[in-house]
């Protein structure tokens, strides 16, 4: 039985990765998960310098999911190269670093620092809804997305994944723009912008007022968007958005995802990644599927 998938020349032992921002660099989940079992660890976004992030409250629960407005707090690329990269290098899993910035120059600086590291791919975060400058500003119109993708591709020595925002009118336009600008893969969806109001205190629950929604409640939207993008582009798609278990992961693959990422579900079930891997194998056995690649985009009529 083959569970390996290949994205932009990078082979993952299985299609299950972690969604950026929900797993740190894996250290915090070592008590629960054998990181060697994962297809890839996608790190929390890292910038050229440390970012403080947003004021608290940064997280709140909503029906079937949660809102977060962390604001990309991160320790900066210097400490990340010293601490997080060597840690992940000691594990038998692919390393995908999520990169964030306020300006194209800041993204490029991080990309260049990672070029000669053991990182397999870089995921470019142009879709975080919780920062005012940069990030999502590049992910909500095709012109800006094209420009940043081209510039990063011109400097990157590793395959580039552009992480797309669902907070657009037509995500296939963004997928096509990323592909045309040279992206090696796309990942979707980032969180959906949401809001929660405390009716007793008559105040916004999150200090940032809005936050990105994740969790099982957003899954049907994510499946639809993965499907639409799979029809629109030829580059591989990493699907995410509300995946909690093997059934969810398989649904994304049938919709066209070559790999999947587990995000908020880690908070609900810290064993979600490894349980999903086992569940996919059980499904393949039960369905007599020898190669997991048979599942990718199998539902399209």
């Amino acid at each position: 039985m083959n569970t390996a998938v290949t994205i932009a020349g990078v082979t993952l032992k299985n299609p299950v990765m972690t969604a950026s921002g929900t797993f740190g660099s894996g250290m915090e989940y070592q008590d629960f998960v054998d990181l060697n079992a994962l297809g890839a660890v996608v790190t929390k976004g890292v910038a050229n310098v440390p970012w403080e992030g947003n004021p608290t409250p940064r997280v709140t629960e909503v029906y079937g999911g949660m809102l977060n407005a962390i604001g990309l707090q991160n320790p900066g690329i210097d400490l990340f190269m010293q601490r997080d990269i060597p840690f992940l290098e000691s594990k038998d899993t692919q390393i995908i670093v999520n990169v964030c910035g306020h300006t194209i120059e800041e993204y490029v600086e991080v990309v260049e620092r990672l070029n000669d590291s053991p990182v397999a791919m870089m995921e470019i975060n142009v879709s975080c809804p919780n920062v005012k400058v940069g990030a999502i500003a590049f992910g909500q119109n095709t012109k800006a997305l094209t420009e940043i993708t081209k510039e990063i591709k011109a400097h990157a020595k590793k395959p580039i994944i552009m992480k797309l925002s669902p907070n657009v009118t037509d995500i296939t336009e963004m997928a096509k723009a990323a592909e045309a600008a040279g992206a090696d893969a796309i990942s979707l969806i980032n969180t959906l912008t949401g809001m929660k109001i405390d009716i007793q205190r008559k105040k916004f629950v999150l200090a940032n007022r809005t936050g990105g929604m994740s969790g099982p409640a957003i899954k049907p939207i994510a499946v639809r968007m993965v499907y639409q993008c799979a029809q629109a582009v030829k580059i591989p798609i990493i699907g995410m958005g509300g995946i909690s278990n093997a059934e969810d992961a398989i649904e994304f693959m049938l919709a066209g995802a070559s790999a999947v990422a587990i995000g908020a579900a880690n908070f609900i079930n810290p064993y979600a990644t490894v349980e999903t891997i086992r569940g996919i194998e059980a499904y393949m056995k039960q369905q007599h599927i020898d190669d997991i690649n048979e599942l990718i985009g199998a539902v399209h009529e």
């Binding site: 915090e28 989940y29 008590d31 608290t56 940064r58 629960e61 962390i70």
Partner: protein
């Protein structure tokens, strides 16, 4: 280092202690690994409410392998917990957080201050410090003095109530000042847990006296294990892990030295 786990644990006892305040005893071998001031997070059975609820540990019995939790119903999640009965199971994530540094209290006059639902975690502390020179001051709303009897068994205990029905009228700091004036209190170190205004007042008081104060902070959490960076507090120095002036309440905390945090 102990290993964090998510497990289903059996509830061996439940009891209502006061209006909106409940007790739950959990059977778990992880009781052997727990310390005063640490916490666990409990999951509801309602699949629309997904995030675990952080609840401080009130008491630890390593021999019986039980943890005692005392919590206030703050919403639908804790409301569900309050309906559980002996023999039910609950999914628990733990053991989480750093806990109080007990060694700092040895040989000193320790003052432990708890306000409202901040009282349960400092009971575990008072029990762990039994035999040391410890004074506890507990702040309640009214005459519903939950856990007061447990404190009486292990240390000198005073009470302040908002409505003045028992003890000093006012908050725990009012009681502290009153005891100081009477010459009955001269602390070297403070351990506390309670609402933010109380912790702010304790931080100020400790600074004035020039003594260390350990505060247990509360913040909205998602993962509980240090990954999501949801529950940070502002720190006076650059935090080693984050490289900014933010520390994770779930991991570097919940107990912080007052002079290390900006609250």
């Amino acid at each position: 280092m102990t290993q964090k786990r998510k497990t289903n644990v059996t509830i061996t006892k439940t009891k209502q202690l006061a209006t909106g305040v409940y007790e739950m005893i959990l059977q778990t071998p992880q009781a052997k690994e727990a310390g005063a001031g640490q916490f666990v997070a409990l999951y509801t059975k309602d699949r629309s409410r997904l995030l675990p609820r952080p609840i401080s540990i009130c008491g630890i019995d390593p021999e019986q392998e039980t943890l005692r939790l005392v919590y206030r119903v703050a919403g639908a999640g804790t409301g569900e917990f309050s309906t559980y009965r002996e023999g039910d199971t609950v999914a628990m994530l733990g053991i989480l957080g750093n806990g109080y540094p007990l060694d700092q209290a040895r040989g000193k006059q320790a003052l432990i201050l708890g306000g409202g639902i901040g009282i349960p975690p400092i009971l575990g502390l008072a029990q762990a410090l039994k035999g040391e020179n410890v004074t506890a001051i507990l702040g309640y709303r009214d005459r519903e003095l939950f856990l007061k009897d447990d404190f009486d068994q292990v240390c000198q205990t005073y009470v302040a109530t908002e409505d003045g029905s028992v003890g000093t009228k006012g908050n725990v700091l009012d009681a502290v000042r009153m005891l100081e004036e009477k010459g009955e209190l001269n602390p070297d170190i403070i351990f506390s847990c309670g609402p933010l205004p109380m912790l702010k007042a304790i931080k100020k008081y400790a600074e004035e006296r020039g003594i260390p104060a350990y505060l247990s902070l509360e913040e909205r959490m998602a993962c509980g294990v240090g990954a999501c960076l949801g529950c940070v507090c502002k720190t006076t120095h650059k935090d080693e892990h984050s490289q900014v002036n933010n520390a994770r309440v779930c991991t570097e905390g919940p107990v912080f030295l007052a002079s290390d945090v900006m609250i």
